[in-house]
């Protein structure tokens, strides 16, 4: 095990399981969610949304709504078309990418069910909703394309004027990139070929706080409070989209109730609320219902993966060919096209392939648009390769862990340049796996599995493995530039020394549950030698934190945290001349530790000078060295030179009732290597939550559309988030090989659990029933699908087939079209 010893100084904060600073207000209800905002004269908005997946808007009659009680304004696309601009897509992945203009309010055509066609502003939320019911929209239905594969065949066009549903085709080929050989050679020479097709179902991020936006147009600047992960990006995009000077817009992300990528967006509703506030001159608030959220906030995943793995008979993998279809939905959101591309660098994972080719076709359909969801591209890649490694092991009759070890990068081979062109800086797959096996009782469980197979037990045991890695710390700006992303990947921080000795840390990261206030306080307490409680972390307001690129992609600690470290170091450098001046010593003779400057060689009993005292001297500025500006405050911007590569070994034991198809998780062990840890309590929490989101993809969640393009899993009744009763307690542990890309040695943990767990669960279920001839079960692995797979039903069938038809002709209790309101 490669555990790096932390310095043993008792004062060290980093590494402590500090209880969170954030919690006091959250456990007492003293929270500031956007929907809590009440401003004098505030109006409330309600959206009118299209019930059709694809239709021409022939008329919008707003007269009844305009006459309704309390209604101040009703606007439709016609009214807004010259003011609303187009919603931004910041990631054109190819030069010839096809992109459909995305208005906040549809003008003459809707392209998915849930698209906004009109907006009502009224004195109360209830009045707005009542009036929205009175807006009469005439539609002329157009053919809708819902199925991803049919869309890829261009049978029906999501946007007829584009002439195709293919938005872009993006290719990485190791032979062309010079990072490996030609995959066709590997396939031709393969002794074993594993060819599989996997479905990544459509998921909905389902953050617990529904989205809400308030815009106050009074005063010199527009102020927007909004439940967003990206206040800085949003401010810039509002300026670019609406033609408002950036300096006239302030965006505040107050307490934000989760995001998971789902609030990494510039939303139509944010634009609409802004426009309505500008039009009425009054503060406006929009808060969505959960059903609205599931319908219209962006979705995630939704891919078909066609995979070819080439190997030698001795188990050595040689080539990997990946052909993806990725469903964009109806429009390209902020980073929609890039999400599957983030997976391009991860399909090869921890294994040493000679050749690799990745090709992804981004496809439009008439469904809610997709974009980032926890992991974004990397869960899909991890699922594919970890499923394939199990399939190869089964094909060769090998233990799947042993086969992985034969192929993975050994700990003495780092740094390692991968076939996908990444340079992995550190890792130790042997250590994490060894520890996970021990905690799991791998050998004992294998023996039990054999016994139960032998005895023909009705409930079979399966063991699932996922030895994952991911790329975190988005991202080196030059890499983003090479991938045609519209922005950089740096992060900014400031450290302000207040005269009283307290410290304010301003971060461009924008937390929404991650605990940055606590972790950043720990980092700064160590850097400056000040008490943890003396550090105040400020974020999420573009007026307080003017520079930042926000929170997503497991970037906050490894990029934003490093910026904080750099800013703190600058404060010490700025304080040095003053300390030397006061101590009447040479600057070069000063030492700084535990918050105090001392003079080298002046003895252990010297009092030295603390930073707090120096801050007060700077505030007074009565006696500063010549030429010193009266400030210790410092800014830093960090642009990483490389990604970080967390990894881990996840082991899952599932029991499968072969008569009913019911699956039960028996145990789950994960040992993650996320580099050095700032706060183990927070890290474990991130892992637990990620695990359950990944497990939920394997077992329960799916956004299902009917053939008309209607979302039929549009509430929490149908979109089945796991509950406490569905889940178990986990066993977590860590090994540590520090990252080399930042001073903290941290790698990032926000997405790890979600990336790793999905294939571990599916591998376990397939492992349980493989002797019955099953080699795959489509996600989510519902009891019905598992049962069908066991009983010769292939992969268990598509959800759409069991979801339709909703209404059988001649069946009882159906509306009779001939009678108003149906029959009794």
């Amino acid at each position: 095990m490669t555990v790096t010893e932390e310095p043993t100084a008792a004062v060290r904060e980093v590494g402590k399981d500090r209880r969170r600073k954030e919690d006091q207000r959250l456990i007492t209800g003293r929270t500031r969610w956007t929907d809590n905002m009440q401003l004098t004269g505030m109006l409330h908005l309600a959206m009118v949304r299209s019930p059709y997946a694809h239709a021409r808007i022939t008329n919008v009659d707003m007269s009844a709504a305009q006459q309704a009680p309390g209604v101040i304004s009703v606007l439709c696309g016609r009214d807004l078309k010259d003011h609303q601009g187009e919603l931004p897509c910041a990631w054109p992945i190819t030069d010839d990418q096809k992109c459909m203009a995305h208005p906040a309010v549809a003008v003459d055509r809707v392209a998915f069910a849930g698209e906004v066609v009109a907006v009502v502003a009224a004195r109360t939320a209830a009045q707005a909703r009542d009036a929205a019911e009175l807006v009469d929209v005439d539609y002329e239905e157009l053919p809708a394309v819902v199925d991803l594969k049919k869309a890829a065949a261009d049978e029906v066009l999501a946007h007829p004027e584009l002439g195709t549903n293919v938005s872009a085709t993006w290719v990485f080929d190791s032979a062309e990139a010079g990072s490996g050989g030609d995959v066709e050679d590997s396939i031709r020479d393969a002794e074993v070929l594993i060819e599989r097709e996997y479905r990544q179902q459509r998921l909905i991020p389902s953050f617990m706080e529904p989205r809400s936006t308030v815009v106050d147009p009074t005063g010199e600047q527009f102020v927007m409070w909004t439940s967003t992960q990206v206040p800085h990006i949003l401010r810039l995009m509002l300026a670019l989209t609406l033609g408002v000077p950036e300096s006239k817009v302030r965006v505040i992300a107050p307490d934000v109730g989760g995001g998971f990528g789902g609030k990494l967006q510039v939303t139509p509703e944010e634009i609409i609320t802004f426009l309505m506030a500008r039009q009425t001159g009054k503060p406006c608030k929009w808060t969505e219902t959960r059903s609205e959220s599931l319908l219209s906030a962006h979705h995630g995943r939704d891919q078909w993966q066609k995979l070819t793995l080439a190997a030698r008979r001795d188990g050595t993998v040689t080539g990997l060919k990946v052909e993806l279809l990725a469903d964009m939905g109806a429009y390209l959101g902020l980073v929609t096209p890039g999400v599957p591309i983030l997976g391009a660098f991860m399909f090869n994972s921890i294994y040493k392939f000679e050749s690799y080719r990745f090709e992804c076709r981004n496809i439009f359909t008439n469904k809610t648009w997709t974009d980032a969801y926890r992991g974004a591209g990397r869960p899909e890649a991890t699922f594919a390769i970890e499923r394939l490694m199990d399939e190869l092991a089964a094909e060769l009759g090998r233990d799947p862990l042993e086969l992985r070890e034969q192929n993975w990068i050994r700990h003495d081979e780092f740094p390692f340049s991968t076939v996908a062109g990444m340079e992995y800086d550190s890792g130790n797959y042997e250590a994490a796996t060894e520890r996970a096996k021990e905690l799991f009782g791998y050998d004992e469980l294998r023996a039990e599995q054999a016994r139960r197979r032998e005895s023909g037990d009705r409930v079979q045991l399966g063991l699932g493995i996922s030895t994952f890695t991911e790329m975190c710390g988005l991202a080196p700006s030059r890499v983003l530039g090479a991938l045609s992303y519209g922005a950089g990947g740096w992060e900014h921080a400031s450290v302000r020394m207040l005269p009283s000795g307290k410290v304010e840390v301003i971060t461009g990261s924008s937390a929404h549950g991650q605990g940055h206030e606590t972790a950043w306080s720990q980092i700064v307490a160590d850097q400056l030698g000040v008490p943890f409680d003396d550090v105040e972390v400020l974020h999420g307001d573009t007026q307080i934190s003017p520079r930042g690129l926000d929170t997503y992609g497991s970037r906050s600690l490894v990029v934003g945290g490093q910026a904080v470290v750099m800013a703190a170091k600058k404060v010490i450098e700025k304080a040095k001349p003053l300390a030397a001046h006061v101590l009447e010593a040479n600057v070069d003779d000063l030492e700084f530790s535990d918050g105090r400057f001392t003079v080298r060689g002046a003895g252990a009993d010297q009092e030295g000078l603390g930073l707090a005292g120096l801050a007060l001297r700077v505030f007074a500025a009565h006696d500063l060295p010549d030429g010193m500006e009266p400030s210790l405050d410092a800014d830093a911007t960090f642009d990483p030179v490389n990604f970080s590569f967390p990894h881990g070994t996840h082991l899952c034991a599932m029991e499968v009732d072969t008569e009913t198809g019911e699956t039960t998780m028996r145990s789950y062990v994960c040992v993650d290597d996320i580099g050095n840890v700032v706060n183990p309590l927070i890290v474990d929490g991130q892992v637990h939550g990620g695990l359950v989101q990944g497990i939920a993809q394997a077992l329960w969640e799916e956004a299902v559309y009917d053939d008309q393009g209607t979302l039929v899993s549009g509430s929490f009744v149908d979109y089945t988030l796991p509950t406490s009763a569905d889940t178990i307690s986990f066993v977590t542990d860590r090994t540590v090989s520090p990252a080399t890309s930042n001073d903290l040695g941290a790698k990032g943990v926000g997405e790890a659990g979600c990336i790793a767990s999905t294939p571990a669960v599916v591998n376990a279920i397939v492992d349980a029933v493989r002797p019955m001839g099953v080699q795959d079960i489509t996600m989510p692995c519902t009891p019905e699908r598992v049962w069908r797979a066991i009983h010769g039903g292939g992969r268990g069938g598509a959800t759409e087939e069991s979801a339709m038809p909703h209404f059988e002709e001649d069946a009882p209790n159906q509306d009779n079209p001939g009678t108003e309101g149906g029959q009794l």
């Binding site: 919690d23 953050f207 617990m208 706080e209 059903s291 905690l439 929490g685 359950v692 509950t723 406490s724």
Partner: protein, 160 residues
């Protein structure tokens, strides 16, 4: 409009409400009790859980007029001044919250759970918290916190 009189967190309020007003909207918009939040529209998520005469209810599933003459406790009325309840303390101590949006409902539900069964085991806690959804924690630390507040320890997996 209907006149109601409700005691909320120790204060008696008398208000005219629209009969269709949900208790959660009355609490948030009329009384400013914004600690109680709305997470769904199908009474699945439990974020709005409060106590009605000491029993947990989902306040999105109760009309304000149904609370007339009754006593409501919200997350804001749980602590005794600066003194937190054992459950509030346990939630912080066990890191049973991340974004914190589900937390008021979780704590109110768990308070009622422990009133009914002061010595639950893990399975009991998991069954009786299933009406409250959390997207951040994976429930691991929530279950742990409820057990800790009850003076018990989790029987399942632990930090190794």
């Amino acid at each position: 409009m209907t006149r109601i009189s409700v005691r909320v967190d120790g204060v008696t309020y008398s208000d005219e409400v629209e009969p269709r007003t949900l208790l959660v909207h009355y609490l948030r918009e009329s009384l400013g009790k914004t600690g109680t939040v709305v997470g769904c529209d199908t009474s699945n998520c439990g974020a709005c859980t409060v106590h009605l005469d000491g029993r947990s209810v989902k306040s999105c599933n109760v009309l304000a007029v149904q609370a007339d003459g009754h006593e409501v406790t919200t997350i804001e009325g749980l602590a005794d001044g600066e003194t937190l309840t054992p459950l509030q303390e346990a939630f912080r101590d066990c890191h049973a919250l991340q974004c914190g949006y589900c937390t008021p409902g979780m704590i109110m539900q768990a308070t009622d759970l422990l009133r009914e069964n002061p010595s639950p085991d893990e399975a009991y806690v998991r069954q009786h918290m299933e009406g409250n959804l959390c997207r951040c924690t994976g429930y691991h630390n929530i279950v742990k916190a409820v057990l800790q507040a009850a003076g018990a320890t989790a029987t399942g997996g632990e930090q190794a």
